[in-house]
């Protein structure tokens, strides 16, 4: 960090035990090349105010913990360089559309509950095979390609915070859950449409998406939830009017009879 090059972090503070409403606090943080917003927040925590609360874990845009609002744009703090903004001041706030626990920490429990409600796992009719699997279910590369980008979701909640419908309708399922519903319904190993469709075909489900596309624009992993929602709508309509080809769930593939011999473990080079 360059101690001469300082940048102002305007951080929204809120402690429900002491504050009635959120307020801003300014911190001067030494800036430098390739410095991320998360590193700035860590500097504040370690050197200026240890009471600042924020979430972070992997520091490489994998865990989805550090989603915050940076200069009024939702992004991962570890995935955002301070230099990107070409500004002396950075405004840092918690993600909107989610209840604040403290400072930059938001309550993600309702978000995860919504995610859980659409049953984000493979559902099959062959319960016995699911309980005691004897082999893998076949999935050709082309079938994987149809859903691959939606598997990149890291459940950071950034799409929800960018979504204008989630801002006005607190019961709206949100782009994350809806895109994951499509991801599992389109999986050729899955047979769970009948269980998932009643969850998304509600007054606050898939039909309430305004197609603003803010979720796709904000997603730090390049997932396109708006596309998934449109494809889910198409799937629902094709089932409602009994049009379109219904995919047959994939069967299990037997394990190969012969496996390649394992490479011998290299011997020790130092005796």
């Amino acid at each position: 960090m360059d101690k001469n090059n300082l940048i102002t972090f305007k951080v929204q503070r809120y402690d429900p035990e002491h504050d009635r409403i959120p307020h801003f606090q300014e911190f001067m943080v030494p800036s430098g090349k390739c410095l991320t917003v998360l590193e700035g927040l860590l500097y504040i925590k370690e050197n200026l105010d240890s009471s600042l609360a924020f979430r972070a874990s992997c520091r490489m845009a994998i865990c989805g913990s550090c989603g915050i609002l940076i200069n009024n744009y939702p992004n991962l703090a570890c995935h955002t360089q301070i230099e990107e903004f070409h500004s002396d001041t950075l405004t840092v706030k918690p993600l909107p559309n989610l209840p604040i626990i403290k400072d930059l920490v938001v309550d993600l429990i309702p978000f995860f509950n919504t995610h859980k409600s659409i049953k984000p796992y493979i559902l099959r009719q062959d319960a016995e095979e699911m309980e005691k699997p004897t082999a893998e279910y076949a999935q050709p590369p082309r079938a994987l390609e149809t859903l691959l980008q939606f598997t990149h979701c890291i459940k950071c909640g950034i799409c929800i915070s960018a979504c204008p419908t989630s801002a006005s309708d607190r019961l709206f399922l949100g782009p994350q859950a809806l895109s994951q519903c499509y991801r599992y319904c389109t999986d050729n190993r899955d047979e769970g449409e009948k269980e998932r469709f009643p969850m998304v075909d509600t007054d606050h489900g898939v039909w309430h998406c305004h197609l603003a596309g803010a979720c796709s624009e904000a997603c730090p992993k390049g997932v396109d939830p708006a596309l998934a929602i449109q494809l889910l709508k198409r799937r629902l309509v094709s089932r409602a009017v009994a049009l379109g080809k219904k995919q047959q769930p994939s069967s299990t593939v037997p394990s190969p009879a012969e496996t390649k011999p394992k490479l011998p473990f290299p011997g020790f080079t130092v005796k």
Binding site: F172, D201, D203, H208, R239, V241
Partner: protein, 120 residues
């Protein structure tokens, strides 16, 4: 699939409004366009012409159909807006019932005119 059918109907009524309202607009207000195609539309808005059309079942049917699709499209859209702005299970039930009742009453009241004119 209830909401999927409601949304499909919203799409279908939107297309029907464009067609039926298009017919109404061209006949009643855009006589210049009809004149361009060689149709004399000056008499269409006269009282005699209106009564003559009202006696024909097809015109009464068109106007009742236009009333039905406009009511569905507008009230379903209004219901969606209200439910989005006031999300709660109780509100949902009340709003749906009020809007359905309003739609039925308006439809019965307004479709009485073309039906009465059929026998005029």
């Amino acid at each position: 699939m209830r909401n999927t059918y409601l949304w499909l109907l919203q799409l279908i009524t939107g297309i029907l409004i464009a067609v039926l309202l298009g017919v109404h607009m061209v006949l009643m207000h855009l006589d210049a366009i009809l004149g361009f195609f060689g149709v004399d539309a000056t008499k269409i808005t006269s009282w005699e012409s209106m009564i003559e059309r009202s006696n024909q079942g097809i015109w009464a049917g068109l106007y009742i159909a236009l009333l039905a699709v406009v009511l569905y499209h507008a009230l379903n859209g209004l219901r969606n807006v209200i439910l989005e702005l006031t999300p709660s299970v109780r509100t949902e039930r009340v709003v749906t019932r009020v809007i359905v009742a309003f739609g039925i009453v308006t439809f019965v009241f307004c479709s009485y005119v073309p039906i009465a004119l059929l026998s005029a």
